[in-house]
C-alpha cells in the first residue's frame, strides 16, 4: 500500500515536471497540399514548381523558431477532378488539416473548393488561374477561398492591350481542353470590346504532336502576333522554320518556364511575350532565384511559379503563426487581415481584404518577354 502511494506521488511529481516542458512544445498545425504531381508534363511542371516554393517557405518559417510547428500533408491529384475531390475530403475528415493549398487545374479547384468552404477550412488556391475561383465565393461572408496565383483575365487583358496597340493582325491558337476553350472565349470577348477581330483561330487537341497545319493557316492569314494558349507551350514553335514563318508569340505565363527555353531554344523563343508576376531585375527576386537554384538544382525550372508557391506558403504560415494554434476559422480571419508581407512575386504587403481574396490584382500583373535566355519586364511604348 505504502509502495503504491509512494509510486503515485512520484508519478504526480513527474507529470508536474513534464507539463511545463509540454507547454513549451510548438503547437502542431497540419496544412494539406493538393498538387498535380503526375500526368501531363505541363501540369507536373506547374505542380512541382509551386510545391518547391511552398517547401522553401516552410524551411524559412522553421528557421524563425516559430511557436507553431507546421506539417505539410502532400497529395498528388494527378490532374484528375474526382481524385482531387476525394483528396480534399480525406484532408478534412482524416488528416484534420487547418488549411489547404492547391492545385494546378482550375477545374479541380472549383470541384473541391465548395467542400472546404462548407467545412470552414481556408483554401489558398494555386497555381490555378481560372478567373472566377475566388469571386464565386467572395459573397459567402465569410469566404474561405483565397488564391496566390496568376489570374487568367488579368494576363489576357494586359496582353490584349499591348497586342492591339502594336499589331494589326492577331491570330489565336488554343487547346481543345476546358482551359484552352475558356481562354479562347476570354480572348475573343476581350478583342470584341476593343473592336478587333482575330484573323485566324486555330485549335489543337492536348495530345497532338504536330501543328504544321495550324501554323500554315496562321501564316496564310497574315497573323503578325500569335496568341498561344495551348498547354504544350513548345509545340507551336517546331513547324515555324519549316514553313518560313516568324510571328511574335504571346501567351500564358507558362511560356516563361525554363523547360520551354530548354526545348524550344533561346533563338526561337527570343521576343516571346507572356503574363508575369515576377521581375527578376528586382534584387529580392534575383536572390530568391539563386536560392531556388541552390536548393533544387536542375529540378528548379519555373521562377514565377516557384515564387508564387513561396508567397502562398509564407502568407499562410504567417497567418498560422499569428493564430498560434490549429484553428481554421481564426487562420482564415488572420489571412484576411494579414499585412506587412515581403513577397517575392508582385503580391502586395497586404495581400487580402474582406472583398479581395487574390494575392495578385490587375495592377500587379505585367508582361514579360524572353530576351537572351531570360524573362525580363516588357518595356511598353
Amino acid at each position: 500500500m505504502k509502495v503504491t502511494r509512494r509510486l503515485g506521488i512520484m508519478a504526480a511529481a513527474l507529470t508536474g515536471l513534464a507539463l511545463p516542458a509540454a507547454a513549451q512544445q510548438p503547437a502542431l498545425v497540419r496544412v494539406g497540399v493538393i498538387q498535380g504531381l503526375s500526368g501531363p508534363p505541363a501540369i507536373v511542371d506547374f505542380g512541382e514548381s509551386y510545391l518547391q516554393g511552398i517547401r522553401l517557405a516552410l524551411k524559412d518559417h522553421e528557421a524563425r523558431n516559430p511557436r507553431t510547428r507546421i506539417e505539410l500533408v502532400v497529395y498528388d491529384d494527378e490532374a484528375n477532378p474526382q481524385r482531387a475531390v476525394s483528396l480534399a475530403q480525406r484532408l478534412v475528415q482524416n488528416d484534420n488539416v487547418s488549411a489547404v493549398i492547391g492545385t494546378v487545374s482550375s477545374g479541380n479547384v472549383l470541384a473541391f473548393a465548395p467542400i472546404l468552404q462548407r467545412a470552414r477550412i481556408p483554401l489558398l488556391a494555386g497555381p490555378s488561374i481560372a478567373t472566377d475561383i475566388t469571386t464565386r465565393f467572395i459573397n459567402e461572408r465569410p469566404s474561405f477561398i483565397f488564391r496566390c496565383s496568376m489570374v487568367e483575365q488579368f494576363q489576357i487583358e494586359a496582353m490584349l492591350d499591348w497586342g492591339v496597340q502594336n499589331f494589326q493582325r492577331i491570330g489565336l491558337l488554343h487547346s481543345t481542353t476546358g482551359y484552352g476553350s475558356f481562354a479562347a472565349r476570354e480572348i475573343q470577348e476581350g478583342l470584341r470590346r476593343r473592336n478587333v477581330n482575330l484573323v485566324a483561330t486555330e485549335a489543337a487537341a492536348p495530345g497532338v504532336n504536330d501543328l504544321t497545319a495550324q501554323m500554315i493557316r496562321m501564316r496564310d492569314a497574315g497573323a503578325q502576333l500569335v496568341l498561344n494558349f495551348h498547354e504544350s507551350f513548345e509545340l507551336l514553335y517546331r513547324p515555324l522554320p519549316r514553313i518560313n514563318y516568324r510571328p511574335v508569340v504571346a501567351g500564358n505565363w507558362g511560356l516563361s518556364s525554363m523547360k520551354v527555353l530548354e526545348i524550344v531554344g533561346r533563338e526561337a523563343l527570343e521576343g516571346t511575350v507572356m503574363g508575369q508576376a515576377l521581375d527578376l531585375a528586382d534584387p529580392k527576386a534575383r536572390a530568391f532565384d539563386e536560392r531556388m537554384r541552390a536548393e533544387y538544382g536542375a529540378a528548379y525550372r519555373w521562377p514565377v511559379v516557384g515564387a508564387l508557391g513561396y508567397d502562398a506558403g509564407q502568407v499562410l504560415f504567417r497567418a498560422i503563426e499569428r493564430v498560434g494554434r490549429a484553428d481554421a476559422v481564426a487562420i482564415r480571419d488572420a489571412l484576411e487581415s494579414l499585412d506587412g508581407v515581403e513577397a517575392i512575386s508582385a503580391t502586395p504587403a497586404r495581400p487580402f481584404s474582406p472583398t479581395d481574396h487574390e494575392c495578385l490584382d490587375r495592377e500587379h500583373v505585367f508582361l514579360g518577354v524572353w530576351r537572351n535566355g531570360q524573362v525580363v519586364r516588357l518595356e511598353q511604348r
Binding site: L37, S38, G39, P40, P41, A42, V44, D45, E48, T176, E202, A203, A204, A205, G207, V208, N209, D210, L211, T212, A213, Q214, I216, R217, D220, S232, E234, L235, R238, P239, P241, R242, I243, N244, K259, E262, I263, V264, G265, E267, A268, A299, R301
Partner: protein, 300 residues
C-alpha cells in the same frame, strides 16, 4: 489551297504516318505470329527516344548511339517475351483465364517503363536534339517545301521496313518459319522448326522497330514519359485500317492515317484529330478486316 501548302501538309502527314507505320509494324509482326500484340509498343518507342537523347546528351556520336539503342531495345524485346508473354504459355495456363492475360502483362510492362523513365529523367518533357545537326532549325527546302532531315529518314525507314518485311516473310526461310508457327505451332515443331526461337525473334524484331522509330521520332515531337500511349493507340488504328495480316496494308494504313490527320487539321483544327479516327471506324464497318485484310476467314 496552294500547291506548296498541299505538298507541305503531305510531307508532314507522311512523316507522322511513317512513325505510325513503324509502330504498327511491331504490332503486326507479333500478332501475325503469336496472335498477341505488345500494348506497350509505343512505350518501347518512348524508351528508345529517351535512350537516344541520353546518349547524345552524354556527348556520344550518333553512329555510336544508334547501335546502342537498337541493342538495348532488342534486349527489352527479349525480356518482354521472357517475363510477360512466355509464362502465360505454360501448359494449362489458359484454363486459369490466362488466354488474354498478355493484354494485362504487356500493358503492365508499359506502365513500369513509364515509371522507370520518370524516376530517371523526371516527369517533364525533354529536349531531344536533332540527330544530324547542331542547329534546331536545320531545314532542307525543296520547291518551297521544308523538311527536317529526321522526317526524310523516318519516311525512308518505314519504306525500307516494308520492303525488308516482304522479303523476310515471303522469300526467306525465317519468314516461312514465322508463317508456319502462326499457322500451327505444334505442326511447326514436328517439321523441325524451333518454335520458341521464332517467337522470341518476333518479339525482338517488334522491339527493334520501336527502336528505329524512337530514335527518329525524338527530334520531331515532344519527348516525355507518357508519349507512348498515343502512338500505341494510333498504331492500333493504323493496323486495323490497313489490315493486321499484310505489311503493305500497314504502310498504306499509316500513310492514309498520317496524311488524313494533317489535312483534317488544316480544314478544321478544332476536330482535326477526330476525323481520321471516324474514318477508321467507317472503314472497319465497310471492311472489317481492313483495306488489305484477307477476305477469307482466318484458318489459323
Amino acid at each position: 489551297m496552294g500547291l506548296t501548302n498541299f505538298l507541305q501538309l503531305l510531307v508532314s502527314g507522311l512523316a507522322m504516318g511513317a512513325i505510325y507505320t513503324l509502330t504498327a509494324k511491331g504490332l503486326f509482326i507479333a500478332h501475325v505470329t503469336t496472335h498477341r500484340v505488345n500494348f506497350g509498343q509505343g512505350d518501347f518507342l518512348m524508351v528508345a527516344a529517351f535512350l537516344t537523347l541520353a546518349g547524345l546528351g552524354a556527348g556520344l556520336p550518333v553512329l555510336a548511339v544508334i547501335p546502342m539503342v537498337v541493342v538495348a531495345l532488342g534486349l527489352m524485346g527479349w525480356g518482354l517475351e521472357r517475363i510477360a508473354v512466355r509464362p502465360l504459355d505454360r501448359p494449362g495456363a489458359a484454363r486459369f483465364g490466362a488466354a488474354h492475360a498478355w493484354i494485362l502483362t504487356t500493358a503492365g510492362v508499359a506502365l513500369i517503363l513509364q515509371n522507370v523513365v520518370e524516376l530517371i529523367w523526371g516527369k517533364s518533357s525533354q529536349y531531344a536534339p536533332p540527330l544530324f545537326s547542331d542547329r534546331r532549325d536545320n531545314v532542307i527546302t525543296l520547291g518551297g517545301v521544308g523538311f527536317f532531315v529526321e522526317e526524310l529518314l523516318v519516311m525512308a525507314a518505314a519504306c525500307i521496313a516494308v520492303g525488308v518485311f516482304y522479303w523476310f516473310l515471303l522469300r526467306s526461310r525465317w519468314g516461312k518459319d514465322v508463317y508456319t508457327v502462326a499457322f500451327n505451332p505444334e505442326a511447326a515443331a514436328l517439321l523441325g522448326i524451333d518454335v520458341r526461337r521464332t517467337v522470341v525473334m518476333v518479339w525482338v524484331l517488334a522491339a527493334l522497330l520501336a527502336a528505329v522509330s524512337g530514335i527518329l521520332v525524338g527530334p520531331l515531337v515532344t519527348v516525355h514519359p507518357h508519349m507512348g500511349l498515343i502512338f500505341t493507340i494510333k498504331a492500333l488504328a493504323v493496323a486495323s485500317l490497313g489490315g493486321f495480316a499484310n505489311p503493305l496494308g500497314i504502310l498504306a494504313g499509316g500513310v492514309l492515317f498520317g496524311v488524313a490527320e494533317a489535312f483534317s487539321n488544316y480544314w478544321d483544327s478544332a476536330y482535326g484529330d477526330l476525323y481520321p479516327l471516324l474514318f477508321v471506324l467507317l472503314m472497319l464497318v465497310l471492311r472489317p478486316a481492313g483495306i488489305f485484310g484477307e477476305k477469307t476467314a482466318d484458318v489459323r
